[in-house]
Point group: C2
Chain length 429, copies 2
């Protein structure tokens, strides 16, 4: 084994960073044996240097992250700051000064992954980021390496633990959204400002990363259709139960049936209770992958938290260190397929639509006509009502999102349709 240690600079020492530092210390011998050389924490860049960090030598702590990544003797920079800047500039600077990079930064990778990969490649360095998607769940490596000889057709997953906790709570207790969110906040599953989670921004960033890797195509964050889960109601869960379904916030990356284009989207959807994703509870994450040869695979585990995320970071750290020692680099960006990324209107799926309608003869015929005119075929209709008011629940066969949107616009114009109570996509059948 080489005795000269590999030097690691840690950018950020919050929940994840402090756990990375702790494990690097407590498991130093194991890491050395697995890498083939010792690893040494060479510096820790933080914003608040005065805070006491147990187990970290105060002499290593600096507020000057730029100087740390410019030192020139750093083998690997571990970036767990999050956000776009200064993370992006620090990572770029790290490559320019000879380091490889391990990052847990989904927002940055989703927005600027292609550019960062280009800088890494230019300097013949590694950029690894298993921790950026679904925390501890090995997902990027399996997609990028294990399935490298296969053709992936769909990646569908629960990639945000906060929203899964809220939806699971609504499902199991009948609580409304706000009540479930309050509990998630009280338990520390949701942040004070939950926007990034509940509006689907976090999941959309992960969808962009996953779609890019799965389809060997650049998928920008703007290419991902995004719909949050704040409008999901207890009534929606009741409807889902009648269908033998539950509701999950899903990130879905799909190859179109013609194989030439792909889509990526995040929205709440009904999935059958028999689907493996339906039983993913609490803040857990799970990702379902369908490919030509492997068939259906699922990866399940904790999608967030200091220790799980640190596990993913350290797995990458070992791989990158091994690459340094052998003088090689791992797989970089693979975007050779350059497939068209289609807009949401091209997505084909099924829909569950609840309408409030007038309780009089002929309404169903009117509604059915609108569906037919837009080429949306109806699977089932359920009517119920009294006192002049009625509700109509329509479940469609597969249709494009554009056709469904057109249908709903036309339905809203009918005098007999008082309102569209909810539209929910049905997936995983």
């Amino acid at each position: 084994m080489r005795t000269r240690p590999l030097k690691v600079a840690l950018l950020g020492c919050g929940v994840v960073g402090s756990e990375v530092a702790r494990i690097m210390t407590t498991h130093a011998d194991d890491l050395a044996a697995r890498i083939g050389a010792p690893v040494e924490l060479a510096g820790v860049a933080v914003r608040r240097p005065d805070r006491v960090r147990e187990g970290i030598d105060q002499a290593l702590v600096t507020t000057d992250a730029t100087a740390l990544v410019k030192r020139g003797d750093i083998d690997v920079v571990v970036e767990v700051i999050g956000g776009i800047e200064p993370a992006r500039t620090l990572i770029t600077t790290a490559f320019e000064h000879g380091a490889s990079v391990v990052s847990a930064n989904k927002a940055l990778l989703a927005q600027d992954g292609a550019a960062l990969h280009a800088v890494a490649e230019e300097h013949d360095k590694d950029l690894y980021y298993e921790a950026a998607v679904a925390g501890a769940i090995p997902l990027i490596r399996p997609l990028r390496e294990s399935l490298a000889g296969d053709k992936i057709n769909r990646v569908m997953g629960i990639v945000n633990g906060t929203t899964n906790f809220i939806l699971d709570k609504m499902d199991s207790t009948g609580a409304g959204y706000q009540e479930a969110l309050d509990e998630a906040t009280a338990l520390g599953y949701a942040e004070a400002d939950p926007t990034a989670d509940v509006e689907g921004f976090d999941a959309a960033a992960k969808a962009a990363i996953l779609a890019g890797i799965a389809f060997h195509t650049r998928v920008r964050l703007d290419d991902v259709y995004r719909e949050g889960m704040t409008e999901v109601t207890a009534a929606d869960f009741a409807s889902a139960k009648e269908m033998g379904c539950t509701i999950k916030l899903l990130a879905i990356c799909e190859r179109a049936e013609d194989g030439a284009s792909v889509t990526a989207r995040v929205h709440p959807a009904m999935i059958p209770l028999s689907h493996p994703l339906a039983s993913v509870r609490g803040a857990y994450n799970a990702v379902f992958v369908e490919s030509d040869a492997a068939g259906q695979l699922m990866f399940y585990g904790p999608g967030a938290g200091g220790s799980p995320t640190a596990s993913a970071v350290l797995g990458d750290l070992v791989a990158v260190c091994r690459n340094r020692l052998s003088g090689a680099t791992g797989p970089g960006e693979s975007a050779y397929a350059a497939l068209t990324v289609s807009p949401m209107g091209d997505v084909v799926t099924r829909y569950h639509i609840s309408l409030d309608v007038a309780d009089k003869p002929g309404v169903l015929a009117q509604v059915a006509t609108v569906f037919a005119e837009h080429g949306v075929s109806i699977d089932t209709v359920r009517q119920s009502g009294k006192d002049g008011e009625a509700s109509l629940v329509v479940v469609t066969h597969r249709a494009s999102d554009a056709a469904l949107t057109g249908t709903v616009e036309a339905l809203r114009k009918l005098d007999t349709v008082r309102g569209v109570a909810s539209i929910m996509r049905v997936e995983g059948e």
Copy 2:
């Protein structure tokens, strides 16, 4: 991209081999883009050269596998023959003549993995075998690479599809073992001679491989305790249901609580219906992994079949080809921890024991005394009986297998115990 192709020799062209060859042809452009060079099928060694193999150039077919691996211009040998010989000699010869190897051979890897890794290392070549365990499910790479910075404490899985199909059938229909086996045979899930599957030999080989990788310790096939599932009865499933459990054939690799030793075992066990492994249906496989930092992970998918196994083989092929191009090798054997592999007697778990006893006063006291004398603490007892005969179901707290064995021996000697109807371990709580 390099234009000179990497040359692949395929040993075996059965269900898996023909699928590997097919995908290498139909997806040649994708493989080339992902590897960075084209791959060329340079030869296919078969036993029966006259059989027509669609899509494979007859000029590539040979019965002389030895000459093929000795050619000297082969970059990667893909071994999908199975069995110990001639696979072992061919793989060794391949390394000696400059090739890296991708194998799907669980029996060989379980028996001679260490020796084969040594030859690979001596010649600075790769030995990859993702397909040897749980078919298409990425498992070896996640354990060996993604969790390389973590400490794995337990790997527990359903790694044999045939037996899971049979047990699932017994569970869902109330069928007995023989009836369920007959259906599995008729549907092609079980071979004419099902011994390797139903007696747990196949799962034991996989357990040895998984334990070795998870604990960085050599685990020989002989170190794995093995108990088949041919004795599982409809009555056992009825007992399991009363416990809120089902029965699965599990491969369990565990680190002892003191951290210094490990165990590996294969046997039927009751697991709670709430455990993710309980809902693994049909011939699917799933492996549950528990580690210090990542927590609980699960990997799920098809555990066998031509296409899924080919997917795993091709993922390895891409990785090994990339390594060839960069002049590096991937992770080899990691056995530095060299932990003690303890015998079955040291395993600590819970037990569900059904006794046929005389229906008279004092029997329960006698039985309870025997448990106490052997240090096995009882959790619950359920008594039922009539007409002088009774049954007693005892569920214990955690105890060593040695203590339980001693208890059962002593119980058999009691006049009031007519027989021990079944002993089943309870896992996953």
